[in-house]
């Protein structure tokens, strides 16, 4: 797995697409910071709108940038998506998987390696995002007061966000392995969260649905107050989705004719 990780990082750092993605993310984040404005992709809840409105009335220090912009972290879906394509998608669309699989790598090893590498890359992207907005906000308006509570809250928020983003991409991974189609996986990644958001707004009495509204959960991770029961359900929905999707993806891949 370590060999595959080293190889994939090498490939990523030699891809123009990687640098273009990072530059676009920096541009979007910079525009938000310079204009002190944040938005919601694909709807969102009233609580999210209120949180964003409240944040637009204060000075965006580094700390404040992190708090405010945590509510548009779902934009990372679009900045992780190219990395998903470069790490997993190209393997299938260009049949590059043939080389390692035909020279002694087991399908399980290949599958786990690819997913773990993608997960690490996603985590790095989340860290890079927060680090950039903290520094950019800090250089613009000062860094603000970094308290222990803020750091704990940031760690909790980013962990939940990574879980929810991973759940979205676990569904993309399943689609990728089922259909071997990058386009289908990309469309699913974009449409699935939006569809769930719409369903949550239509079926307001189906409370369980909101735990699968991964995009909304990403954006509200900082300010949402969960009871321990709600947190358990949130984690169960996230981890459950990931495990179910990955198991199904592997089962379809394990004996598939390639």
């Amino acid at each position: 797995m370590l060999n595959m990780a080293r190889a994939d990082m090498y490939r990523l750092f030699h891809s123009k697409g990687f640098y273009i993605t990072q530059i676009l993310m920096i541009i979007v984040a910079t525009i938000s910071i310079l204009t002190s404005t944040i938005g919601i992709i694909g709807g969102g809840s009233d609580a999210l709108s209120n949180f964003q409105a409240a944040n637009q009335r204060v000075v965006w220090t580094g700390v404040q940038c992190v708090k405010a912009m945590s509510s548009e972290t779902s934009a990372l879906i679009y900045f992780i998506l190219p990395l998903f394509i470069m790490t997993i998608g190209f393997e299938f669309s260009r049949q590059v998987y043939k080389n390692p699989l035909s020279s002694g790598m087991t399908r399980l090893n290949y599958f786990i390696s690819k997913y773990v590498i993608f997960l690490l890359i996603s985590a790095c992207q989340v860290i890079f995002y927060y680090l950039f907005i903290f520094l950019a906000g800090g250089f613009k308006n000062g860094f603000g007061k970094i308290t222990g509570h803020f750091l704990v809250k940031l760690l909790q928020t980013s962990s939940i966000q990574l879980l929810e983003l991973s759940a979205i991409f676990a569904i993309s991974t399943l689609v990728m392995y089922l259909f071997f189609s990058t386009i289908t996986a990309v469309v699913t990644t974009i449409l699935f969260p939006l569809i769930i958001t719409v369903l949550v707004q239509i079926f307001t009495k189906q409370h369980w649905l909101k735990y699968f509204s991964f995009q909304n959960n990403v954006d509200s991770a900082y300010f949402a107050h969960y009871t321990s029961g709600q947190m358990s359900q949130l984690l169960l929905a996230g981890f459950g989705t990931i495990i179910v999707c990955l198991v199904l993806a592997f089962l379809s891949f394990r004996k598939r004719d390639l």
Binding site: R6, S15, M105, K255
Partner: protein, 310 residues
């Protein structure tokens, strides 16, 4: 006798209702260059993919370097190198970068491995040209270089000379022969460019409708492909009697008009004279020899006759 590199026993593989492989038996000994011959769709690629586990056989046993099942088999695949169907690599990387990528995957730390592989296949001067901009010949060469990175004991190549120009074909053939002769590498190569295959293979397997219908060594083929006199007449039975009277026994009646005479000491003019005297009308008398392509066509045609529903 040394243990076989590869042994396939009674392999069956279907795709839905279509039987792609039917009771395939194939053995490859160390040091051989095994040429797998067959028409498009005969099952060549399916056999190769089954060996490298891109496909799994429905029935039968495959033994590779003595390992038959599970992890042991997969482990032995590390001793192979393969290019199946079209060569694949990362589009956005150069030849050198692609080899670096695969060195990392295969855990190869030898710093010279990349330069050696590039030099061996003649891709040292591609510079910053990316794989997506390579010609088919360059892609084939890079595919071979990737397959050779870990210095495999067994090389598996699927139609490697398809789409190459004549010079590139000759280069490729020389590369493979060099690998076989200098490194003792065993090679399994499928192709339907039979004259090329003839020049490098030491043994041939003919596959038709998913079944190996004939296996023979190059020596055996050469014995079959000896020169002969092709005689076409209106009455072959009468012609055969004339030949017997002339003391010639090494001949074969092929069809209603054709006889192949393998005794090359025969005086053609005297034969024609004898035949005409016996009221046999001669339409053709010419020296010929069976090449691999003709032999392949004959074997496949015979197979069609004996198994018409195949």
């Amino acid at each position: 006798m040394m243990a076989a590199i590869l042994q396939m026993e009674n392999i069956n593989k279907s795709f839905g209702k279509q039987h792609a492989l039917n009771q395939v038996n194939l053995t490859i000994q160390p040091g051989e260059i095994y040429g797998l011959i067959g028409r498009n769709g005969a099952g060549k690629t399916t056999i190769l993919k089954t060996i490298v586990q891109l496909l799994y056989a429905d029935q039968g046993t495959i033994t590779l370097f003595g390992a038959t099942y599970g992890k042991d088999y997969t482990k032995q695949l590390k001793r192979t190198g393969s290019v199946i169907e079209t060569p694949v690599a990362n589009d956005q990387l150069t030849a050198q970068q692609n080899l670096t990528y695969y060195c990392k995957i295969k855990g190869i730390v030898d710093k010279d491995a990349i330069d050696d592989a590039l030099k061996f296949v003649g891709l040292t001067d591609t510079g910053k040209k990316k794989f997506k901009d390579f010609s088919l010949g360059m892609k084939q060469k890079l595919g071979l270089a990737i397959a050779l990175l870990n210095k495999p004991d067994f090389l598996i190549l699927d139609e490697p000379i398809n789409g190459l120009d004549p010079i590139a074909i000759a280069d490729f053939r020389n590369l493979l022969v060099k690998l076989n002769q200098t490194q003792g590498m065993t090679i399994l190569i499928s192709s339907h460019i039979l004259e090329e295959l003839y020049q490098m293979a030491t043994r041939f397997g003919i596959i038709d409708h998913g079944t190996i219908i004939k296996e023979l060594t190059k020596e055996e083929f050469d014995a079959k492909s000896r020169e002969y006199i092709k005689l076409q007449v209106d009455q072959p039975k009468l012609a055969a009697t004339v030949l017997n009277k002339m003391g010639i026994e090494d001949f074969k009646v092929i069809d209603q008009h054709t006889l192949n005479i393998y005794d090359l000491s025969l005086d053609n003019a005297a034969l024609v004279e004898m035949l005409v005297a016996a009221s046999v009308s001669v339409t053709t008398i010419v020296r010929e020899h069976i090449n691999l392509e003709n032999y392949f066509k004959t074997i496949v045609a015979e197979n069609e006759v004996t198994t018409p529903n195949a």
